[in-house]
């Protein structure tokens, strides 16, 4: 083992930069895609100016609700700035929460609560204004309900203030959140009530890039079974099978160290949760792709044919995994398609999949058959 480790270290030393690049590739590519799409999402949000003219609780809640809307980028401005920026089309539109907003709502006033500015190029004005109107209507309806309850309670022993009623309605609304619908990825069930909408499943992306980088780093096997060098391995103190097997184990350990690094990086930068079951699933997935890459590499002698087929295979897996194009329609109709997807068990935090068993059987046959032909 130590002797083979020593020989492997000589190889790794010679290819340090390229090995390091491909080991880090799944982490870097995942971060780049997640950050890149977030940036694009941020840039494509509609710039809307808000003039916060009232510092009351209701006005601040309205401001926060507008700001929390995923597709709007709120810019704080004064009324004069708002006019100028809308005129110069730097803002799509602007809305003024005027001084006395809370008082007006409390008094049950329903007209001229918000002033808006728009230009002839305010394409998003209609949906944005409708959204803000709906938020204001929520406040005014709540106020109206409060006044009704106060009137009704005048005849009863239990007395309610306007503030108490409004607070109670907010509480009920939170508890019985009937209108909100949250979409989330299969393995992120706990991520509801989030305003942030991510287009990607981080671990699915990482898994796809890991498959590609593993296949590309496994070119060592093709390089080492080239016809010229192969006779040398008949005269070493290990069988060729054992030599390859130990090398595969060394590669597995190296890959797994970088997999753990991915867990830490995604936890730090993408707030992905860490758990022992996740690490177990990563290890199971790592073993699967190592075995798959090993079997795949045994089929090739030509390096360039291998590289092009590896890219093609990674692309096919990306498609059938549903990570790029949704394939729910196909998998719902043909359940067996889901079985073809080697990433699915990992994303469901399963440790063993049919692919593991298939790979173990193939490698066992190779080991026994190869051992006999070598003897």
């Amino acid at each position: 083992m130590m002797a083979i480790l020593h020989t492997r270290l000589i190889h790794w030393k010679k290819q340090m930069l390229s090995i390091l690049f491909w080991l880090l590739f799944p982490i870097l590519a995942t971060l780049a895609i997640v950050y890149g799409t977030n940036l694009i999402q941020q840039d494509s949000k509609i710039p809307v100016g808000i003039v916060a003219g009232d510092d009351s609780e209701i006005a601040n809640t309205l401001y926060d609700s507008i700001k929390a809307t995923p597709l709007i980028r709120v810019i704080d401005v004064t009324e004069a700035e708002a006019r100028r920026l809308v005129e110069s089309h730097e803002l799509d539109s602007a809305f003024v929460i005027g001084d006395g907003y809370e008082q007006d709502v409390e008094n049950g006033r329903r007209n001229r609560l918000i002033t808006s500015y728009r230009s002839n190029l305010s394409f998003a004005y209609a949906p944005v204004s409708q959204m803000i109107i709906s938020l204001v209507q929520q406040d005014t309806s709540r106020s109206k309900a409060a006044h009704t309850v106060i009137k009704l309670s005048n005849n009863s022993t239990e007395q309610w203030t306007w503030n108490e009623i409004v607070a109670k309605t907010i509480e009920i609304q939170r508890e019985e959140d009937l209108l909100r619908t949250t979409f989330s990825f299969a393995n992120t069930a706990g991520a509801d009530n989030e305003n942030h909408v991510s287009l990607w499943n981080t671990w699915a992306l990482w898994a796809l890039f890991s498959i590609l980088s593993t296949l590309l780093l496994f070119d060592w096997l093709i390089k080492e079974k080239r016809a010229e060098i192969l006779p040398r391995f008949a005269f070493i103190r290990f069988s060729y099978q054992d030599y390859l097997f130990v090398n595969v184990c060394l590669y597995t350990m190296l890959f797994f160290i970088f997999d753990l690094l991915a867990v830490i990086v995604f936890y730090t930068y993408l707030s992905e949760p860490i758990s022992l079951s996740l690490i177990g699933a990563i290890l199971a997935f790592r073993l699967l792709i190592i075995m798959g890459a090993f079997i795949f590499t045994l089929l090739f002698r030509n390096l360039y044919l291998y590289y092009s087929t590896a890219f093609l295979l990674a692309l096919i897996i990306a498609v059938i995994s549903g990570a790029i194009i949704p394939i729910d329609g196909i998998t719902n109709r043909f359940g067996w398609v889901a079985l073809l997807n080697p990433i699915q068990p990992f994303l469901h935090v399963d440790y063993i999949s049919p692919w593991h068993i298939v790979c173990i059987i193939i490698i066992a046959i190779w080991y026994v058959k190869g051992g006999k032909s070598n003897a």
Binding site: R232, R237, A375
Partner: protein
């Protein structure tokens, strides 16, 4: 001593080697000649345990090739026709790489001395920058790491300059005479074979000679 008796090799219906018998004594250098496709490399591969004969028996130091293959491999040094080294490594890394996997441990100094004995002094140089002659020397040096008793060389000097060829030849003669190695050597260069070998074995469909003794570096050939 190497004993080959009635050795035959056929690929399906095509007979490549037929009823070949010879023996090699310690300290002897045998030249193996024949036309292209005559079966020289096949014979060398069989003697190196890389291929199995169809018929016949081979014994190396009274060990049967059939029953004691692993043990026999420890005693064989095989120098393939193609240069079987890592081009991206240095000479030192190549030697250490194969020493780590070899049956016998040598240590860095001994490995370096092995190279120096063959006038291969570019220890730290990357192999890809070496001349063809130097690469051939390294190819030979790697095969000698585990100190084999039988050395099989498949055209080890093809395509290299005269100086390197002479140096390799001198080193092989030294190995045979001083260290009692058995050496089997194939080449297309008859002058080289005559200079170097004690005996010549010719194989092929229509051999113009079979086994020729060479006395004092001068061949006795009969056409």
């Amino acid at each position: 001593m190497l004993n080959v008796t009635s050795l035959s090799k056929a690929y399906r219906k095509k007979v490549v080697l037929e009823q070949i018998s010879f023996s090699v004594q310690p300290g002897e250098i045998i030249g193996l000649v024949g036309e292209n496709g005559a079966g020289k490399s096949t014979l060398l591969n069989i003697l190196a345990t890389l291929q199995r004969p169809t018929n016949g028996s081979i014994y190396l130091q009274e060990k049967s090739y059939k029953d004691e293959k692993q043990s026999i491999r420890k005693a064989i040094g095989y120098v393939p026709q193609d240069i079987a080294i890592w081009e991206e490594f240095t000479v030192e890394e190549n030697m250490i790489f194969f020493e780590k996997l070899a049956w016998k441990k040598r240590g860095n100094e001994a490995l370096r001395q092995l190279c120096l004995d063959m006038s291969l002094d570019k220890w730290k140089e990357p192999v890809k920058t070496l001349s063809g002659g130097m690469k051939r020397k390294l190819n030979l040096a790697i095969s000698l790491i585990h100190d084999p008793t039988l050395l099989l060389l498949d055209e080890p000097t093809v395509g290299i300059d005269l100086k390197s060829r002479k140096e390799i030849g001198a080193y092989l003669q030294e190995l045979a005479s001083a260290h009692e190695k058995m050496i089997l050597y194939t080449s297309h260069d008859m002058d080289e074979i005559i200079d170097l070998c004690d005996r010549i074995i010719c194989i092929g469909d229509d051999p113009f000679y079979e086994e020729i003794l060479i006395n004092s570096g001068k061949a006795i050939l009969s056409f």
